[in-house]
Symmetry: C2
């Protein structure tokens, strides 16, 4: 179980999708995960620490966990199956840990809002690529062209 962080979120409005880039804590390696636009917007707002007057869906999720005396302990992106990343959220309720299946986009957003750690399994960490090589790919063209150029089988869906 290796701790990672969210490096950035990139949007491709032409295909109505987005990519969240995870990285190791030293920002040497990265993993792009293809997610929905809405979830990407929620992650970006959480990254920026934006506060809204009304609770957004992931704020409600956090409030539901905390209203029962729970606390998000961490999240874990643990496997890749049929081109889809799987993750679980771990909730601590007075020492009892309950883990719940979640899409990585929801789990990541909730982790950012709860200041909880983001982990990946060894299996997933082995899929991280050199960050300089990834940036090189990105410099080749505009963001949308970059997103189109990536083999979607390599990106996988969340």
């Amino acid at each position: 179980m290796i701790e990672v962080k969210v490096l950035k979120v990139l949007f491709d409005f032409t295909t109505a999708s987005a990519v969240v880039f995870l990285s190791d804590m030293e920002e040497k390696k990265t993993l792009p995960i293809w997610i929905g636009l809405f979830e990407a917007q929620a992650i970006q707002a959480a990254l920026r620490g934006e506060v809204f007057s009304r609770p957004l869906t992931h704020d409600l999720l956090k409030n539901v966990i905390e209203s029962s005396g729970g606390k998000l302990k961490h999240i874990l992106i643990h496997k890749l199956e049929h081109n889809t990343y799987f993750s679980r959220i771990f909730v601590d309720r007075g020492g009892a840990i309950i883990d719940i299946d979640a899409r990585p986009s929801d789990a990541i957003c909730l982790a950012l809002k709860s200041s909880a750690k983001i982990y990946v399994s060894r299996e997933i960490y082995e899929k991280f690529e050199d960050i300089l090589k990834m940036e090189e790919k990105m410099k080749q063209d505009f963001v949308s062209s970059f997103l189109k150029s990536i083999d979607k089988d390599d990106l996988k869906k969340a």
Copy 2:
């Protein structure tokens, strides 16, 4: 506290927004509430009973409530303030009821997924309009024109 139901959801992709129409149980009166596109899609999928291979955000919300032995009892849309509707979700945890602030769009989607009742306060119920008059408005033009024609101050935001 009056029980209501979701009549339908209408989308206006030109303004990237949508309206959820609530009605009394006899479908005589209706209340339109302006919501976000994403939340509208989630409500429509819930209305249709669509099942996805991975948990969507509101499924995760439901799973989080149920994983702690809780159950959504009902939701209540209770007030309108500064053009915004406010609601609360009521969670039953072994007889103890906890209520949590939520936007109506999240609360409605969660209620549909949990087969929980949707209530409005007397104050909100007084804002419901005759459904035939509302349908007349709708017949005047295409959906997008209809949405544009409505005084947004009357619709209010969720």
